[in-house]
Symmetry: C2
Subunit: 400 residues, 2 copies
Amino acid sequence: VQLPTKATHRQTREHNTRLVLRTLSEAGRVSRADIARRTRLTRTTVSDVVAGLMDVGLVEEVGRGPSSGGKAPILLRIPPDARHVIGLDLGEGAFAGALVDLRGDVRREIRVPLEGRDGEEALTVVHDLVAKLMRTATSPLLGIGVGTPGIVDTRSGTIRWAVNLDWQDLPLARLLTERHGLPAVVANDSRAAALAAYTFAPGSRGRDLVAIKVGRGVGAGIVLRGELLLGDGSSAGEIGHVRVVEDGRRCRCGNVGCLETIASAAGIVAVAGQLAARTPGCTLARAADAGTLDLDQVRAAWAADDPAATTAVLEAGRALGRVIAGLEGVLDIHRIVLHGSVTAFGARWLEAVRAEAHGHTLPTRGNGVEISLVDLDADLVLLGASAMLMTSQLGMGLAR
Amino acid sequence: VQLPTKATHRQTREHNTRLVLRTLSEAGRVSRADIARRTRLTRTTVSDVVAGLMDVGLVEEVGRGPSSGGKAPILLRIPPDARHVIGLDLGEGAFAGALVDLRGDVRREIRVPLEGRDGEEALTVVHDLVAKLMRTATSPLLGIGVGTPGIVDTRSGTIRWAVNLDWQDLPLARLLTERHGLPAVVANDSRAAALAAYTFAPGSRGRDLVAIKVGRGVGAGIVLRGELLLGDGSSAGEIGHVRVVEDGRRCRCGNVGCLETIASAAGIVAVAGQLAARTPGCTLARAADAGTLDLDQVRAAWAADDPAATTAVLEAGRALGRVIAGLEGVLDIHRIVLHGSVTAFGARWLEAVRAEAHGHTLPTRGNGVEISLVDLDADLVLLGASAMLMTSQLGMGLAR
């Protein structure tokens, strides 16, 4: 199809601008000539695009680089505060929001406990959080990036189904844009976190990875060739609902025996409670009976070598390990990182995951797979969601 | 890093040539101006590259297209016989080789029964097959594309491990190039077939797919964003070794209970034989006892509603379905196609696969997944391997 000449020119211009920004965000400080080499654009085109970006403050000159014979070239960079992004993590029990700069540094963060609110009330919390952050912004805002549990159609910004928040077919991106006048991107939390782990976890940049969130739910984000895998139905990485027990307990999804019924925080609490009930009088049994058993109590019991807690946690690790083996059989990605509240069970739980994953993998490659905890003191969901917004608006990842 | 100017120019030239060829192979007949628009290269560059390609016979002019006002543009295409490729399928029981044109049409095919040969002897069969095809070639040969069972490091062209052929760390690509003076590409058969299914299966072009070969072994090829997923350890898609039975039979890989022990041709034969042994005297039991039971006999028994064959085949289908559900949980690719000798069990087997896959998938998306047999009377492995060779040499897929 032949496009009208004008549209073609505008599209080419936008394409080139995004290409230049991506190159700058990946390379840090580079000269115009370097950008031309990396992008295969002509020097004239690069100078043109750079001039446009300098006009809007997205590029600045920062001195001269080493000379390769002739005159030392002027270096360019993206000023981190040229724009800020509002990042949201609609997490377990609390929503977090932050102003994030173009380098991925959190400049201000707010947490609001949910206290059981869901549906419309939870949506109000989101709007209030955004409004509060907008009032304190010190740089022009690029938009809103949201990470949320549930099945999310990222292409349309719609939350198909987030069972804990009682949201169904909620067009959150559109609602945020209408209310606050900013572009918005909405992604599943596990996926957003995977993107952040890819960018920030030491030694991982440029290597494909699977980041698995093991918390209230269990979900994976898969980064292949530097890009998030979305899936035809927007649910790639939904490993929490792979069946691991043929006659297992009913899952909130409607099926039985899903990985989440055993390996998630709620699954561990339920299994530990059931097991403890066989030895009435023990602390866990009493709490389970009263319906107050929670993950912290199971963690305390686990630390004290309580048998019910030990069995529940190790079986949780093994079930996760088996599903990781299946995932490895499909993807053959050697870097798997785990995060989320369940990872607090630490080394013994991790060993159970690893042993089972390796034992169920082709002997010729089991050893190549590296399963580790994310060693980062940062809100991966919030950072990943911010990065997705930057990519959608500027065509670039975080400018590290 | 600043490359020497000359190398940069040569690389740019090669990059542009591949870009133009890819555009031509995807678009069929196009004008120079169209190529410029699609590739974002300047018209001068395109004319330059096209002139070079016409010199070596890879592009020809084929009349004029519709005018959009001015002079009707000259259309270009890749002549299908400009080059031929030798494609090999080192299949089960027989090796097949063919001369394939640039459109993917098989121009001449030879099949050589293996008759139990493996190791060095099987390698000799490969060399003889190539030599015979080279003698009958009527177009310049571009190279050799090989699809083989086993774990293959496609980047280096080495077969890491092909148990039935008794090949281990065999640098087949290098050996073929040394002997025959042609570039060679070696890929796992399931993957090569997936690429061919992506190109040839009706309605699938441009849609991600998983193609699962269910024959002597069970393996998947995954096409994501138009590209084969290879995996960090070159074994993406090796789903045959996902454990499906905790205390199952020993697999040839060394583990126990792998999908292959139940769902492959050999697995079905073994399970049917075991079950039949419980009713001594029946045909299957006698054949199993004599060690002569094969897939054809099980197929005949299945057609006659023999209980042992029925149970073995349906359980094979269900086990495959469960692994497909796990794969869906990870990839969320909605198009799954099955091929290989086991698919001959037909509709009832396929129904068992589908029912189990859907029953183990998130209720919200089970229905979106389409599992079907490849409806093509072609050697997918051979065609896919040829396509990979074309991509490596010319940067283009098959010119459909």
